[in-house]
Assembly symmetry: C2
Homo-oligomer: 492 residues x 2
Amino acid sequence: MLKNHIRPDDGLDKESRKEETKRLQELLTAQQPALREAKLPVVVMVEGWAAAGKGGLINKLISDVDPRFCSVFSLDADRRDADRYPFLYPFFSALPENGKMLFMDGGWMEAAIRDRLCGGLGKEEYRQRILSVNRFERQLRDNGYLVVKLFVHISEKEQAKRQKELLSDRETAWRVSDSDRQQNKEYDRFLDAYEEFMTATGDVFPWHVVDGSGMKKLNYDAFCLLTEAIGASLAAGKICGEPFEADFAMAPTPRLSEVDLSPRLEEAEYRKELDALQERLSRLHNRIYRKRIPVIVCFEGWDAAGKGGSIRRLAYPLDPRGFETWPIASPEPHELARHFLWRFWTRLPRSGHVAIFDRTWYGRVMVERIEGFCSEKDWQRAYNEINEFEADLHDWGAVILKFWLQIDQETQLARFTERQNTPEKQWKITEEDWRNREKWPLYEEAVSDMLEKTSTEAAPWHIIESNDKFYARIKVMRTVADAMEQALKDRN
Amino acid sequence: MLKNHIRPDDGLDKESRKEETKRLQELLTAQQPALREAKLPVVVMVEGWAAAGKGGLINKLISDVDPRFCSVFSLDADRRDADRYPFLYPFFSALPENGKMLFMDGGWMEAAIRDRLCGGLGKEEYRQRILSVNRFERQLRDNGYLVVKLFVHISEKEQAKRQKELLSDRETAWRVSDSDRQQNKEYDRFLDAYEEFMTATGDVFPWHVVDGSGMKKLNYDAFCLLTEAIGASLAAGKICGEPFEADFAMAPTPRLSEVDLSPRLEEAEYRKELDALQERLSRLHNRIYRKRIPVIVCFEGWDAAGKGGSIRRLAYPLDPRGFETWPIASPEPHELARHFLWRFWTRLPRSGHVAIFDRTWYGRVMVERIEGFCSEKDWQRAYNEINEFEADLHDWGAVILKFWLQIDQETQLARFTERQNTPEKQWKITEEDWRNREKWPLYEEAVSDMLEKTSTEAAPWHIIESNDKFYARIKVMRTVADAMEQALKDRN
């Protein structure tokens, strides 16, 4: 029973509690520069019953924290459009930067349980969410985040009393929503759901149940738990998690060394196929849009392999109201200061849209690995972190296409040289491209590892033989069109 | 008549037009690195009749442009939630970075006319929008943007034919919205509105009417106009506009030299007032939230004047679901690469929310002026650019509160010294604070100019005597509460 897990009373008298609360509040204020120094990001998730006082508690907790280093997330304000994005989207998007704190007024517990009990979410989908939440929390821990999870508990009677009070005043009545009322009517059903959720998600970061019946005790308990958790994290230092095993169903691993780069397409044939495929993609995009199926197309490949050209041909027949192209360069400071997948989560397409990524999250296990922009543990862990990310996208219903554009070294040299010698193409070739070319064997190893470890059934890699640009473009477009068609069939 | 302004036929035969189009498309591709070099941002706004082929035209225009340097904005996709933000919000938010191109499928013309003809927007409000659009375009020009405005024209008959075609196919029928049909039914009414709008907004960037009846001619015309405009801009170099006069109704100018810094408040009195004001603000925030009135509170002041402390007391009684605090530091690269107000437009509160800015857009005329982070023309122009920004916020219905927290040099020294000598406060004081202190006279001059030039009736400055922190905090809170109360009265 939830009540048995509640933080016990420590028998402080009124005056001592007041003093202790003040001391702890000062401690939190003092911990903040230390968090900044340690670059430790903190997420404080305040969950609990409607009318339990979560908003008031958060305001008390942040009242002496420098607003430059903390922000507040509100589940209700941030889940508009929630049905067009994956479950974790609002939470991932809200992640704080290193050294900053985020306070959440309702989080992934409330969102999951509300969808299950009030939104008709099926049992299997709910199970998937629990899985996804546990992966998310592990990823946060492994990437150095501290998550403090509080559940503010009040009794059925107390909740009824508070809701009645709120409803009796015109100024506050709007705060009691229909689903809040439902919660009180079906208190036991919600209680079971909360307990089950806490049991299922208590492994990575523990749940703390706090008593919401009295505001002063509540504030005191929360300050205790928060400062303790921060103190422990500061003492332990920022965590960089170990690589881990995961058992994703894998697709056959494509092997670079076995790729036959000889396929070619004559120009006349190319033009014919191009017209037909663009016509087909245009019609498919229409249907994808109406069925609200999200499509994510990822382009990776050697420099000068022809990513840009393929992307342009693919995008041309798509309705610009329904697709975005995301060129991915080095991360900006505010991106570097967060989980490495944050900048991709925040660029996901709405359902029904197509997002094309010109380079992707796989930079983690290629350029970041090779150039030492992250630690070895970081990139080794990233294979499965990426598999988990793509599993979330797949479960959401996305069509995911990952292309590796393969060319040989001779072809790259010829294209580099042509760029160098053609005035209007010179901007496409930089010193860095030549430097990267020298690292061909290192990249080859990294690419092979990537193909082996991340070609899951949910999101397999497609190798595109790209020595001949005509052949490559047509293969990309046909693969996308086939996948869209299949997804439309599966949905019918 | 619109038809008379249409780009005339140049009598090219089919084959020559095809070749010319290809040449122009290559020219556009070649102009792109030059745009990047010149850091020139380009907005291509494609307006026109429903079913005129805007989407297809945009796809053709971008088909050979490197996707890393261009993006597409779609009016329909980006105006969800439009009723919770100022009119210009989606357009300002979509602005491209220096050296990049944005293609807009429908822009501020369509948005304004739709609201007027289909959304019940009043005549006076519409007039305000035209004004606001003209200011916006001038600001874009003065800040180095090129805006190319195309209107794709088709006849009533042609539109009817195309809509019929689209509607006859299940795959494409959804593309014809109710308002598209209304447009064809009331073609002449829309025609008048388009013409009127173009006449009223053609001064800063001219309108180009292009014939949409044939796709090939349309593409050719658009490539001509676009490459011509870009060529001219590249030749002229990036514009940095001159400061300009504007006749805003001004509030009495507060003068720093006349501020009496002696007011104080005893602690007992402070505690009493604080409790009462927090109670009052909490109730007012409820009502503001329900009435959907946006509130924007700006804090500026000397280092150590007490901004942080005032913000915390003000925020404490507010519902965290309905306010955000924005600490403003130096701009990040993607912010620096855009209009200096971009990072503030994108942080505006939704209607009903309170946004608190800890430092603001006034950095332009203080630190950026003094440190030379922008040119003299830039900061001199900024006074009225800011006045225009705040006028937009005011017209939207926002309550705007601008506080200057004033202390004298002795008080600052005492507070700096205390910070230096108190271990848990040392992080608050940096070398830079001491350096800024040495520039006191320069800042004093900048602040005086700012108060004189930006204290408009719509958004007057409030000077807060802050030698005594208790007095300052109470005055801030009371000013905010009074303004909220007044706004609620005005709305009733």
